[in-house]
């Protein structure tokens, strides 16, 4: 079955520090990959999606970037974090047959 590993589970970072969140997928090949952000008590906002290695599309302008160096690896990054980057970040994978699978998420607090 399709499984997503996402880490770390929680992260506290000072303003201006860099960020790297990693997501890896098992049990599938060539999935569509997604990064979502969820503000407290709100819905999920799509940040980035990728349909293949090196192919990244951004949904909203922001302080973050994404990369897909391998088929089943998706990385969310920032060079300098802002307070507004705080939130809950979810990685997701989709493949036509298997549908969508979500990671367990990373709670990021920027202080």
């Amino acid at each position: 079955s399709q499984t997503i590993h996402q880490w770390p589970a929680t992260l506290v970072q000072p303003v201006g520090s860099p960020l790297s969140l990693e997501c890896t997928v098992e049990g599938t090949s060539n999935p569509n990959l997604y990064w979502y952000r969820q503000a407290a008590g709100r819905g999920l906002q799509l940040l980035f999606y990728s349909v293949g290695i090196g192919q990244i599309s951004s949904e909203v302008p922001q302080n973050l970037s994404a990369s897909r160096p391998q088929d089943r690896q998706f990385i969310l990054s920032s060079k300098k974090l802002l307070l507004s980057d705080s939130g809950f970040y979810l990685c997701a994978a989709a493949q036509a047959i298997r549908g969508y699978t979500f990671g367990s998420g990373t709670r990021l607090t920027v202080v």
Binding site: Y34, L44, V51, Y100
Partner: protein
């Protein structure tokens, strides 16, 4: 662009009773998928039920069923015999094609409904 609206930020129901969560969406597509996801306090996203737009029959999964009204673009979730473990945030989602990229799609989510179960 596709949008999903959940007009009930919070709902509560007595244990063993039935509750219905509302969802409407906007799309110009004729073939699409709709989903309900549950997010408990652990924040793990759990698929509750899925509906293909071309199917007229409403999807059912045990105590969970949907009322899919395609013309009205409405997709409500009914939870029967509510249990304490049903307490969670519930998100309605629409699977949208990504223009210009064959086979690519994304999920568009509503703002969620927080469901409380009263014992």
């Amino acid at each position: 662009a596709q949008t999903v609206t959940q007009s009930q930020p919070e709902m509560s129901v007595q244990e063993a009773e039935t509750v219905t969560l509302s969802c409407t969406y906007d799309t110009s597509e004729s073939d699409y998928y709709l989903f309900w996801y549950k997010q408990p306090p652990s924040r793990q996203m759990i698929l509750v039920i899925r509906q293909e737009a071309y199917k007229q029959q409403n999807a059912t999964e045990n105590r969970f069923s949907v009322n899919f009204q395609k013309a009205a673009k409405s997709f409500s979730l009914k939870i029967s015999d509510s249990q304490l473990g049903d307490a969670a945030m519930y998100f309605c989602a629409y699977r949208s094609a990504i223009p210009g990229i064959q086979g690519a799609q994304k999920l568009v989510f509503g703002q969620g409904t927080r469901l409380t179960i009263n014992p």
